[in-house]
Symmetry: D2
């Protein structure tokens, strides 16, 4: 079985394992106060062009989303999100567990627009009974989205502008950030992103690390007590150095972007094949996830050999998702494309 | 600087790093549904003598405590704990964050007694206004405790008996479980523990792993939906295999107990030296943590070379904590004992 | 200014004020353990044909909804609701504040169907990744709905049947229950309702009382510890007798249904007038709320004299809501109809 | 049976019932936006000497405490309280339900000192691991306390000074405020109180009203969005006017203080009798609650005729609590004193 069903099917880049081994018997303090975390923070600040940014390391995405959102919101506030957003559908209500409603807006290709966010905010504050409704207190988007799509720079500027107008932060879930920044349609850099939002995170779990997400807060005064939130939320790793070491490796010699490009290269090959072979594309994605329609029979046949994710059912079949990652082997993509060809 | 300030100052046992490397490119499913987790579960079930037990892997202790307690309790229930219990003092209110009060009982050497727990339960149910007070719904203890002490088998039996009488589970925080089971005063085995409580966890973070805690629920029907709780609480690692691999290594060839004994051997050397040198022992601990009184000057002097944890201040000085672990080198203990000698 | 903007613009039925005055100096125990609460419970049990039912008194609707839902759900569970449901839009996220997601389904005329609820439950349990999504744990509907519509007996039977099949309770918000039961299209009785759901409440605030909602749980074993939840949620009135006295008055000599019919009679007059005068009906309601379309100019004009609720904007104008209640004076309805006539 | 077991055994002062009746058919807007609430706010502002204060009306004490505390705190913060404080022992964990730990300090006669609060704050901020512990974010005291005792002006000044130094608000639970201000040992006025703390409430439930607590926030900028919290917490009464009417009556012609003095007069008679008859006083209270020791036999005997609250057991017997209130009849106190005499 060759797996394309997710982008977390392998361990970590060898550089990371090697550094973990080399540093194994170094003695350090815990909870992210060690030298490796300090080094990783500096490397990330440099990569983001934010010498003053606060950088925090957490273990996983659901934890990071819930911790950031709970840190920002007052009890009566909620998080604006695409209805397809990860926090709205795939985190077992982790945000609600912290007491906050997800204010889900209809999405297009996994995205929401500045107009929608503005309307949502306007509606709340225009209502004479606004105290009877949840107040939007943060805007959550993913880059790339759940459907592999990305926002243009202009779209991000517009979203950020609306958020600033209403005084709420724009928070970007970057669980797959590398794959967004490395794709051909991307018109922003990591440095741009740090200007285009208030809080974002650089996903490690899906982009080369064993685990770990690096939260970047360009303005360090925004959440000065965030470490309390991390600890309370169960995200403060005792051996915090493990996160520092991994991100130090990822941000040395541009490793993070290099391995992201590898994944995109392989995904683009699948995308091209799907198009050339005439498969129906469900949502056209320039990043590391491809969504395409198969008949149920095709799906059952191909998944005998290749693990895919069944995203949803549509008329005439199902939507399959194929992911590549930093670990995807070109020869496995060859085989997958061959299998697709056999089905036409 | 040689560190004795905590038992999580190094990485992991080489066996674990080796297995992570060997399995790095294996493709597996996520979230703990892979073969390594299955294997580790089986090894743990065997070690615990519980062929039917549910075994779940989480990342860290605070997360595990909050997730288990929230899984057990109804909203109006609280967790009985020693006032010195980790959940009561060192988790930034993670239990309260899930909505539950910690019902702190006065402790002796970090322990609470069956009589105290019984009195707490009796008082609640005897009160005509019990609905106005928090109902005790779980009893939390640590083995070993925050002060390195352990419960005798008889004490555990009595606690369990009271809990059963009132229908609440006994939950044992085993963040340092190996160091308790491996010490000279211990009169129970892992198999006994599985009979003596309703939920417990086997700490990996402090006992040889990079991170990870294995929750064991001998009666699998007790919390059948626990995986929802793990996910919602941010504890479900995408690459769950990392936990499976680590615990598989720890429970192969008795590694977990062997490295625990190493730590105890070194701690016993420190304990003996402290006694022989006439240092005042704050709380006498048979496990991997030693608590002893130094003058402030002594503390300042010795911590120039050896990192210790400052536990609290007492008349005439401070209580220092020295920890050993699976990674403690005998030659570092030699040096520490020499330094202690120089102070007399 | 004559108010039709809500059904809580006056105080209480004179019978209630009189009984409050007569009993004012009686000395009773607190928190709902007094004789008046006992009497009211018995009267309600009798009216519902449920001699064994648990009956609890709370102060208001938002409080009651959040308390019931939090009492039923486990932390990872959510409440199925119409997207227009009061808990989803008008309670400032009170349900989410207790940690639970509202699983909003698209509604038609304020209602959801058994088919929708079934599909929601099926989808959850059919998903291989169900632990990553919120588990539906209760089904919340209103009778009448936010739009004044009511479910038929058949619809309720079907909803209840699906809920039973999946083991989740059907909970009916009856903030305006009297106005539903008293309307011409209603095909159920209070006794039927007690058979057709698992938990419901009889609204007092909007139907003759100063305040108060009576929660009825036909099977008393369903939530045996509900009083803890009421106390914790801030809903346990110290002078609980005030609720007992009011509901005792409402359930003596059929007062509750008599005053509900008065309100419906006046609402039906408005409904008839709107139809005869050719106003566009937004949603056709047989109960005490009428929703109709006015141009913005018409709305501004008529609200100089009559307070109406502006429900939403539509093409060509706004949707106005006019409510009657137990306190509505026929002469005020006369005037309102005259004003409507003047606008044609 | 004559009841002295609590101070909420009767309904309300006749002035209040009368005003409720007179205004019964006035039509008003809901949720505290009506003219009666506006009037009551003005009367309270005047009585407090705070023309700018925000004044909010809630229904009951537990609700008010939880709502205020949750409004002030960030998720990782807790509420400092006496261990005997109402929020710590008699509210079923309502504060923890909102996610916050109660940081209980040992109390003397129900009180805590500025020194204790300072030490608690200092300890938190001095700890290098403060992020692992709950941060004190509000200081909660009661005036009078659970044991009927009161703070001196000097004690309040000192508490307030420490709170200001650390930037946390001082919150005074005034469920029985009138009885504190009216007692002979009181050295402050309502106007003083408004200067001596940041948030307090004027209890209506126990001092003449049917129900209701008036929260006063002298600096209106402290919690500008508090109405969201009230709504979310279930404390926003639909017919908010009922609270306005009651507090308008209580703050007209000094009714609140007049009836408080009546209660104190009767309590002082009991206090004097207890002393003269040589009963052991458990805690000496100048307000409307008396705590005294009876043998179990004495308690069983006297409670055949007089309902008392059994506060706790002590060596040689039990501590009984006798409360007076605005409704206490002098002739009932006569009888109670006679009964006490018969027991000597």
């Amino acid at each position: 079985m060759i797996r394309f069903n997710s982008d977390y099917t392998e361990g970590a880049r060898p550089e990371i394992l090697k550094l973990l081994e080399e540093t194994n018997y170094q003695q350090t303090d815990g909870y992210g106060t060690d030298e490796w975390c300090a080094k990783a923070r500096d490397l990330i600040r440099e990569a983001c062009g934010c010498p003053e940014a606060a950088v925090h390391f957490l273990v996983g995405g659901t934890q990071t989303n819930a911790t950031v959102i709970a840190a920002v919101l007052r009890p009566y506030e909620g998080a604006i999100s695409a209805d397809t957003g990860h926090i709205n559908v795939h985190e077992t209500g982790a945000v609600e567990h912290t007491g906050h409603k997800v204010l889900a807006l209809p999405s297009k290709d996994g995205k929401i627009s500045a107009e929608q966010v503005k309307a949502c905010l306007e509606e709340h504050f225009a209502s004479p009974a606004f105290e009877h409704t949840v107040r939007p207190g943060i805007c959550y988007i993913s880059y790339p989205t759940e459907y592999g799509t990305i926002y243009t720079k202009k779209e991000l500027e517009d979203l950020h502008s609306v958020c600033r107008q209403y005084g709420i932060p724009l928070f970007v879930d970057g669980a797959r950030l590398g794959y967004g920044l490395a794709c051909s349609e991307c018109d922003i850099t990591l440095k741009d992103l740090a200007q285009l939002c208030d809080i974002f995170y650089i996903g490690g779990t899906k982009v080369g690390a064993l685990f770990g997400e690096a939260v970047v807060i360009p303005d360090p005064d925004l959440l000065p007590t965030f470490r309390y939130m991390i600890k309370q939320g169960g995200g403060m790793l005792a051996k915090g150095r493990l996160l520092g070491i991994q991100f130090a490796a990822l941000f040395t010699d541009d490793l993070y972007m290099r391995i992201s490009k590898d994944a995109i290269e392989q995904s683009d090959r699948i995308r091209k094949a799907l198009n050339e072979l005439g498969f129906k594309i469900y949502i056209d994605s320039p990043t590391n996830q491809q969504f395409f329609v198969l008949t149920r029979e095709q799906y059952d046949e191909i998944t005998k050999e290749f693990a895919l994710d069944l995203n949803c059912t549509v008329e005439g079949g199902v939507v399959a998702r194929a992911c590549t990652s930093w670990a995807t082997r070109p020869e496995n993509v060859d085989r997958f494309i061959e299998a697709l060809k056999r089905m036409r």
